[in-house]
Structures are given as C-alpha cells and as structure tokens.
C-alpha cells in the first residue's frame, strides 16, 4: 500500500474520528504537559492541532507533592507532580473561557480517588460549553481499595468507565497505565464497559537516586517516566491494544517528531498525543501534522488509517540483507 506511488492525486486527508468526535488531524497535546493551554500562547499555534488535553482535573483543588518533583534521566524525565490542579470549579470559571476561543478540540482529562469522584466530575463537564470529550486518567489510587490504582485492576477500570459513561454524553477516552503485566486485559475490559476510545501510555513507574546526597532524587521516591526513553515500550503496548480492541486507540509516549508519530500511526493508533516534547520545545507539536502530511503525500497515502501496518507483517520471516557487508560475517539479527 505504502509504495504505490502516483495513484492518488488528491491531497491527503488528515482528519480522523475518535468515536463520535471528529478531529482535524491526529495530533493532540498530552495532559499535564500543556498546562491549561494559555501558557503556550504565542509559542505554539494551537489552531494547527487536532486537539488539546488539559491538565488532569479533580473535584477539589490538589496541592500536589512536595519538591523535588522532577529529575532528568537518560533521554527521559521522571516526575512526581502529584496531580496538582486547580479543581473543577476553578477550571470551569477561570480556564475554560480562554480555551473556548481556540480553534481546536478541547478534551478535559479527569482524575479521582473513587468511582463516585470520577462520575461527579464527568457530570460537571457534561454541559460545559466548549468541552468536546473527556479523557479519564485511571492511574490514580483507588482509596476504597487500599490505594491500588484503578488502572491496574481490570474490574475497577471497567467500573470507572461505566460510571463516567453513565453520567456524561461526551465521548469518553480511557487513558491506560502501562504499569501492568498484560495491558490488553485492561483494554478489553474498558472497551466492553463502553469506552469510546483508549489512550496509552501514561508514565512508567520509576526512580532515581542522588548518590551525592544519598537520597532518592524525588521527594516522593517514585515517579513517572516519560520522554523518548519510553517510546519503544509505548509503541509495543499500542500495537498490542490496537489488535485487542475494536475502539480507536490514541498513542502516547516519547513522541517528539513526525517520524515518531508515524510509527504510532503505523502501529494502528488513530491519533497521537505529544507530552514531554512540548516541555522541551513548546512549538514541537506544530511541526507534526505537517510532517505526517508530507510523508503521506510522498507515499501517496490518502487517509491516516491507511498508515496502519497489516497484522501478518509480524509473521513474515526475518529477511537478511542480500548484499555482503564488508568484513562482517552475516549474522542473524
């Protein structure tokens, strides 16, 4: 499909559907790395993106974790922000009006410590003008279940999905945590509980130690790893989930270039979210739709969905280069 050149003359169509939600292109900003949008004013043209997913919102404001909250690791970032946010009331009053003027789809990321909290926020967002969809962060501890994250328990994840679906007419995207043994189990459960789409991955649990002070580098000891370092893991999980469920999948993890985004789209993601890369260079996401379009044009691909690789590709036998590499004996990879 990819190498049949010159068959299609129309310019590529970058628009996609995430359930009932139509996006003008498959590039979104990931929650927690783009503030509430206004912080990027003048540095990134949000209108060029498919959507923006604002910082996770809870019922009440959350102060977050004590510092240090950040530490850089090789090609990665560990954070323990602790889901600091202004709370739903302040979001609706102080942040939403600005976001309404942006010509891109606004998706609100929500979090909670009980099923009831999730559905309460979803209800408050239901009628909010300008909000196009809800992304549900299920990486939070379930207080009633002793603090184990909703996202690591397929049953709890399904309960949150059902509760949110029941209280809102907005499209619901469930955001999965990678900190599980088999991500397809959780994915299947939330899909059958009625999720409109799945996004993954959230950060990977990690830690760093400062050998000078002989203390964990983060005050919270553990943190979430993001950035280029996690891309191969994210891509593998997206590939798996795409092949396990029938609903649209949004790929997240270490995407910083159009090429990175294309890998996720080839794995079968309908869209991608850009996170840490925006922290490194606020304008990063702007280049990605243009880069995807350029690739599609060059390879005569009409729709984003056509980028997806066929499943049987995994079954093809590995082919070795047929030309001799000087001085090197030929070896299986």
């Amino acid at each position: 499909m990819i190498h049949q050149k010159n068959q299609i003359t129309k310019s590529p169509d970058l628009s996609i559907n995430i359930g009932p939600l139509r996006l003008k292109n498959p590039v979104l900003l990931a929650s927690g790395t783009c503030g509430y949008g206004a912080e990027l004013d003048g540095l990134l043209d949000l209108d060029l993106l498919g959507g923006i997913i604002v910082k996770g919102i809870s019922i009440r404001p959350r102060p977050g974790n004590p510092p240090p909250r950040l530490v850089e690791t090789p090609c990665g970032l560990l954070n323990s922000i602790g889901l600091e946010n202004v709370g739903i009331e302040s979001f609706l009053r102080d942040k939403l009006p600005w976001l309404r003027n942006v010509k891109t789809s606004l998706i609100v990321n929500i979090l909670g410590n009980s099923v009831e909290e999730y559905s309460e926020i979803a209800k408050k967002l239901d009628g909010a003008e300008g909000v196009k969809a809800i992304e549900v962060n299920i990486s939070c501890p379930n207080v009633k279940a002793g603090g184990i994250a909703f996202g690591t328990d397929p049953e709890a994840a399904a309960n949150v999905t059902r509760a949110v679906k029941k209280t809102t007419g907005l499209p619901v995207i469930i955001k999965l945590t990678p900190n599980v043994t088999d991500i397809t189990k959780v994915a299947r459960k939330v899909a059958s509980a009625g999720a409109d789409a799945i996004s993954l991955i959230n950060t990977l649990l990690g830690m760093a130690i400062d050998i000078k002070s002989r203390r964990p580098a983060l005050a919270n000891v553990f943190g979430g790893l993001s950035g280029p370092a996690i891309k191969p893991i994210a891509l593998r999980m997206v590939w798996q989930v795409v092949r396990a469920v029938d609903i649209p999948v949004i790929g997240i993890g270490g995407i910083s270039t159009p090429d990175d985004a294309l890998e996720f789209l080839m794995a079968g993601a309908k869209a991608v979210e850009i996170g840490t890369a925006t922290l490194v260079r606020p304008g990063t996401a702007e280049d990605v739709p243009a880069g995807i379009r350029y690739y599609m044009e060059a390879n005569s691909i009409q729709n984003v969905e056509d980028l997806r690789l066929p499943d049987q590709q995994t079954l093809n036998p590995v082919r070795y280069p047929s030309f001799p590499i000087e001085g090197l004996p030929m070896q299986p990879l």
Partner: protein, 265 residues
C-alpha cells in the same frame, strides 16, 4: 508578556575562572523585553540529540541594546558542561524572557542588593536599573575571589559596594550576612532588600530583614522542565502551607515572606 523561542547565535563564550563562563548570544526579541530578574531556558543538547533532554534555566545577566544577552554560569553537571563547549558562531535555542522579575518599589529610596556566589547573576540588571533612581547598596559574598569573577561589573555602579569572602581572598573575611548586619546598623529610613544566592544565605537574609521590618525580595531556584508553567514541576512550599509556589511562573522572584524557609531543600 510576550515570550520567544528563538535560535540564537553565540557571540562570545569566555571562561572567566575555573568552571565559570560568560556566554553572550544574539536574541533581539528577548533582549528587547527582558526585565531584571527574568531568566531564559537554554538548549544544551546538540541538534537532534535527546540527551540531555531538558533545557537549563539561566538568569539574564546582562543585556546590550544591540540585541545581545549574556549569561553568567557555572559548570555543575552534564548540561552546563555541554553548554560550555559551544563556540561563537554556533546556534543555541533560547526561550525567554521568562518569569516575574524584581519589582521596583517607588517609595524605597535605598535598595540593598545581597548576592551570594553566582547568585549575583540576576542582580546586575537590577542594580543598573536602581542606580538611575535611588541609593544603591551592593553586598556580595563568596567562598573565594575566583567564584565571583565579574565583580567589576558591580563595583563601578555605586560607592556603597562591599565584598566578603570566606577565605579573605577578596574584601572582608567572612560572610555576606556580616556585611548586611553592618549595613543594617548604619542605614536610616526606608529600605528594600533584594537577594539571590544559596538557600541558607537567602534564609538568613530574610530573617535579618524581617527583624528590621524591611521588605525583602528573593530570587529562587528549582528544578525545571519547561520554564513556562506547563509541567508544575518547579514547586517550592508556601509559608502559609497552602500548597506551592511555582518558580518559573509566579517567580523566580518572590516576596521572601511567601516562602516556607524551614523546608529542607
């Protein structure tokens, strides 16, 4: 306030003493709108390398009308080491001007600037600004003379200029807080303190200011990822225990009594 993320050509990179560098870049848009106490995020990696991933925050040390900005920095780790290897003619990406700088208070005829080590970096622009309007007292401290190689930039600005080093290699032997104690005994009338340096020094300065009922502004540091309020990583506890200050957005300059000084950094 407008911010710019621009590729900036390096005009000068000078090693002043062991491990301390002065970097000058051309970034006209940033220079144009920079205020004393603001900072920039500088890219330290080469081209498309992804390690180190994050930019590094540096205070705006000097600006010149021709669009040039200078940074005074110390090599402390991987990022600053890479930055120090960049040569004139090369391009570094600079995001700025960022944060809320020092606030000039009209009814304070005397301003006391207290800098510790490279904490002097954000104070030069401020000193130049204050010099135009009122009495300027500059107090600088360091371990030894080689830690403050740009001292001449300050000493010409005012006759009320004092230095202390712990080893006595420059000025009075002792701490900058000794200088402050002497100054606070001598002055009369309304004053304002501005300070930047190591946390324990700023904490001591704050307590001395408070005892004398003198308002004090401090320039804080925190580990940063974005520098523009996106990640909420740069938190410092508030004195009123209601959550956190965000250094990149609400700071880096704060009224000292907003800060929870007992918090162990």
């Amino acid at each position: 306030m407008p911010k710019f993320d621009t590729p900036a050509r390096i005009v000068e990179q000078t090693q002043l003493t062991h491990g301390i560098f002065l970097l000058t870049v051309k970034a006209t848009a940033i220079q144009d709108s920079a205020n004393p106490g603001q900072f920039c995020m500088l890219e330290v990696k080469y081209n498309n390398s992804r390690d180190p991933l994050l930019r590094r925050p540096l205070s705006i040390y000097k600006t010149r009308a021709n669009g040039q900005i200078s940074f005074l920095y110390k090599e402390v780790g991987k990022g600053t080491r890479l930055l120090s290897k960049r040569r004139p003619g090369e391009i570094v990406r600079v995001l700025g001007p960022l944060g809320q700088g020092f606030r000039l208070i009209d009814d304070r005829p005397q301003c006391i600037l207290v800098g510790g080590g490279l904490g002097i970096a954000p104070l030069l622009l401020l000193a130049e600004r204050i010099k135009q309007s009122g009495k300027l007292i500059i107090l600088i401290g360091a371990g030894n003379a080689s830690e403050i190689p740009t001292i001449e930039d300050f000493s010409g600005l005012t006759r009320y200029f004092h230095v202390a080093t712990e080893d006595g290699s420059l000025g009075q032997r002792g701490m900058v807080t000794d200088l402050l104690a002497q100054t606070l005994q001598e002055i009369t009338g309304m004053a304002q303190i501005y300070t930047c340096g190591p946390w324990p020094m700023m904490k001591a300065v704050y307590h001395m200011a408070r005892r004398k009922n003198i308002p004090c502004q401090v320039s804080l540091e925190a580990t940063m990822a974005c520098g523009i309020g996106l990640c909420l990583g740069c938190a410092v506890p508030r004195s009123d225990s209601h959550g956190f200050l965000h250094v990149c957005q609400e700071g880096p300059v704060f009224d000292a009594d907003q800060v929870h000084w007992e918090y162990n950094q």
